[in-house]
């Protein structure tokens, strides 16, 4: 048996770069975005690189990857990349080939867009397809929302870029916590304790320590060798379940989706910011989550109507004030909107007369 290879790390990227990039590496001078989904980068040497950006489901098959490879072979000498938001970029130097590439993608049902003032692909997670803690599916709501917002993917109609993300539970894999619009799966049931299993599967001190709100205590009945949960102190984070599988906190009826808005990552104009709770709960409604789709469209439309040029969603809200956001979007303000979670809470309170009636 040959020596087992380990710790070789990923291949060096250079072998995957098209020649034009190798030649102009670090020499790019400017870019243009001649049409939605098409980027043109011009080098100091005068060389021109075209990138055509296309959307896809993130959950894909090798068949699909092979299809995409065929397109890339045909138009891009076999060079392509993926973006940090799971779009595909076809890299080519021959401007003349763009039309053909676009036609081919169209035929394959692969949409082009995601650049500039668009809604680009939704960063998302596993959901019911692969994870053990989701309150919702991931790919399903994403598909439903993108179907609805499709017109915004391939156009530059919005006041600025709009980044949508989804996480299927509050672990928030992905950048839900800093997105213009975010869907977050939420549980609303305290863990059900499976005393029989707990005894065998879980370390009691670790389980107790795992609860950020201190809701878990040793069970008063010592003979059970289990724990009890002080339900009013539980905010359904599932952290105890991560540490102890005998504490499932799922519930077919009470799970759902919260919508958070106004986050961003870039430093352009305003600083990076967290997304903030807009709608605390929308019932889980597979397969197409129509209330979620409608809620997101509503927010997007109000934003598009109300924002100034160049204003990200959160910048718009900050300008008009959150009280106006709730008014304009006709979203009720509830106890859940008011932070009561430890150290961050105070900083969210309005300690001034700066508000509107």
């Amino acid at each position: 048996m040959s020596e087992r290879k380990t710790d070789i790390g990923p291949p060096h990227y250079e072998q995957f770069l098209p020649p034009i990039i190798k030649e102009n590496y670090g020499k790019w001078k400017y870019h243009e975005i001649p049409e939605p989904g098409v980027l043109k980068h011009v080098s100091e040497t005068g060389a021109e690189l075209y990138s055509v950006r296309a959307g896809a489901a993130r959950l894909i098959s090798t068949d699909f990857v092979r299809e995409v490879c065929e397109v890339a072979d045909k138009f891009c000498d076999g060079y392509l990349r993926f973006t940090s938001r799971n779009n595909i970029e076809f890299l080519l130097t021959d401007k003349g080939k763009i039309a053909g590439l676009k036609a081919e993608l169209k035929k394959a049902g692969i949409p082009i867009g995601g650049t500039g003032h668009s809604v680009t692909s939704i960063i998302h997670t596993q959901g019911w397809v692969h994870c053990h803690t989701p309150a919702i599916d991931a790919s399903g709501p994403v598909k439903a929302v993108m179907d609805d917002l499709f017109e915004y993917f391939g156009t530059h109609k919005l006041p600025a870029q709009v980044r949508i993300a989804l996480a299927c539970c509050i672990n928030m894999c992905g950048a839900v916590h800093c997105s213009d619009i975010a869907m977050c799966g939420v549980h609303r049931t305290a863990p059900k304790i499976m005393h029989d299993r707990l005894r065998h599967l879980c370390e009691i001190p670790t389980t107790i320590a795992s609860c950020p709100t201190g809701a878990i205590r040793p069970h008063p009945d010592k003979s059970l060798k289990s724990v009890s949960v002080n339900e009013p102190k539980c905010m359904y984070c599932g952290n105890c379940y991560t540490m102890c599988p005998a504490l499932p906190c799922f519930d077919a009826e009470k799970g759902g989706i919260a919508i958070l808005v106004g986050g961003k990552v870039s430093n352009a104009k305003s600083a990076p910011a967290f997304s903030r709770l807009a709608i605390p709960y929308i019932p889980n409604n597979p397969p197409r989550w129509p209330e979620v789709v409608a809620a997101i469209r509503n927010i997007l439309i109000k934003y598009a109507e109300g924002a100034n040029k160049w204003e990200r969603l959160g910048e718009w809200i900050n300008r008009i004030g959150w009280e106006k956001f709730f008014e304009v979007c006709d979203i009720p303000f509830t106890f859940q909107h008011i932070d009561d979670y430890k150290f961050q809470a105070y900083d969210t309170y309005r300690t001034s007369m700066h508000f509107k009636f």
Binding site: D7, I60, S84, H130
Partner: protein, 419 residues
């Protein structure tokens, strides 16, 4: 009648359907058929059918695989095991079709044929295989030059924006830095020895196209120290409407340089008299707004490097954090020794003091920035804070009094204290 009436409803509509894609794979792979069937059950019952993950892996590694078992294994035997393999992606997610096809071949052979390009951390996610396939799949991957990424309490697969490969704004070589650090940290990536996960993300400029500030324990964001380069002729072309704002990617045909650029500059350090654009660069915040809107007229300066920010992560346990500045400027050049050494000081301090499942950002909040900065050998700098403290509850250590006794006014760090 279809066995997946709910999922079928996700086949219509203009956006590519994962259901359609999976269905064709289901025709070839029984486990995908079972996956769809189990997913349909979840859609009916509004609940997941995956059990709490178990620990599985490949020999000698403690990471890179997410164990996953169905709780309906008897009904859907194809998904009894459905583990994930995380394959460390190449810098910038560049591929040749040859490389991609090679990966597909391996995965068709050893797994479900389903994957994510890519996972949210950046890895290639091979979705669904059985325990007994892990080792052979791994052997074939490494034979072809691929390796697993991180999972669990390890150094996670770093990622980077494409930087100098295609972007005119990259202030350092994100692709190379990401590659070098990934190689450097192989041991820590594959053997869980940290208190929790530790992520690195490299963005070439403050636009932060890999969301480093939000999703990386250590965020390396490019920046320049000198002046924004201005091409006044191009400014004129923007003013005249010959050049389109933001390279054309907006609904707006023409730039109003005052209203759109200088008035919106967050530090108001720009002025435009109708002819010439002037920037008071000492007061520029590097926000990129003006550059973003006029890419042919403005470019970052040439004295470039990166800012290091630390601490971001998702809300578990005390609420999400964004990374904060720990070193305002560092030169990022191969072999990145200064950076590597700092990274070691950070992880060693964290490994020593961190509690189980405590991210570095949380540890610093618990022990205090001073203890961290002293361990990391970084001097205090006003750039680290947005605002100084408001409370009067501050500590003095013997080192402060010693410095005072030596006639120094303030202690900031051995060798750095202020006279």
């Amino acid at each position: 009648m279809s066995k997946t009436p709910l999922l079928d409803q996700l086949e219509s509509g203009p956006w590519p359907s994962f259901v359609t894609d999976l269905k064709r794979m289901a025709a070839k792979k029984p486990q995908v058929k079972d996956l769809l069937a189990q997913l349909e059950r979840s859609y009916q019952e509004k609940i997941t059918h995956w059990k709490h993950g178990g620990i599985v892996g490949v020999l000698g590694y403690g990471s890179g695989i997410i164990g996953r078992y169905s709780d309906l294994a008897e009904t859907f035997p194809g998904v009894e095991h459905f583990h994930t393999m995380r394959i460390n992606q190449p810098s910038g997610w560049f591929y040749t079709t040859k490389a991609l096809r090679g990966l597909c071949d391996i995965w068709d052979k050893h797994g479900s044929g389903l994957l994510n390009m890519h996972g949210a951390t950046g890895d290639i996610i091979f979705l669904g295989t059985r325990t007994e396939n892990l080792e052979p799949c791994f052997a074939e991957l490494t034979a072809n030059g691929w390796d697993l990424g991180g999972s669990g309490s390890t150094f996670r697969s770093p990622s980077c924006c494409l930087g100098p490969a295609r972007c005119e704004w990259a202030c350092y070589d994100t692709m190379e830095a990401c590659y070098v650090l990934t190689q450097e940290m192989q041991f820590d990536m594959h053997r869980p020895s940290y208190p929790y996960k530790y992520k690195l993300k490299f963005s070439g400029c403050p636009n932060d196209c890999v969301a480093a500030v939000a999703r990386a324990d250590l965020s390396i964001i490019g920046v320049w120290k000198d002046d924004i380069r201005i091409d006044q002729a191009a400014v004129k072309a923007y003013a005249g409407g010959e050049l389109k704002p933001r390279g054309g990617a907006t609904p707006y045909a023409k730039l109003d340089i005052k209203a759109d650029v200088t008035d919106l500059c967050p530090t108001h350090c720009m002025s435009y008299d109708g002819k010439k654009l002037a920037i008071d660069n000492r007061n520029c915040n590097h926000c990129m707004h003006c550059i973003n809107l006029m890419p042919q007229a403005l470019r970052p300066g040439t004295e470039t490097g990166a800012t290091l920010l630390l601490g971001s992560h998702a809300p578990i346990l005390e609420g999400a954090q964004l990374s904060w500045v720990i070193q305002p400027f560092i030169v990022m050049e191969s072999p990145y020794d200064e950076f590597k050494e700092l990274n070691v000081r950070i992880t060693e301090w964290w490994a020593e003091h961190g509690k189980n499942r405590e991210r570095i950002g949380e540890l610093i909040l618990r022990l205090g920035m001073r203890e961290f900065l002293e361990a990391a050998e970084l001097p205090p700098a006003p750039q680290q804070v947005r605002i100084p403290r408001a409370n009067p509850f501050f500590f003095w250590q013997q080192s402060d009094f010693d410095a005072e006794a030596k006639g120094r006014k303030y202690y900031t760090r051995e060798g750095f204290d202020v006279e």
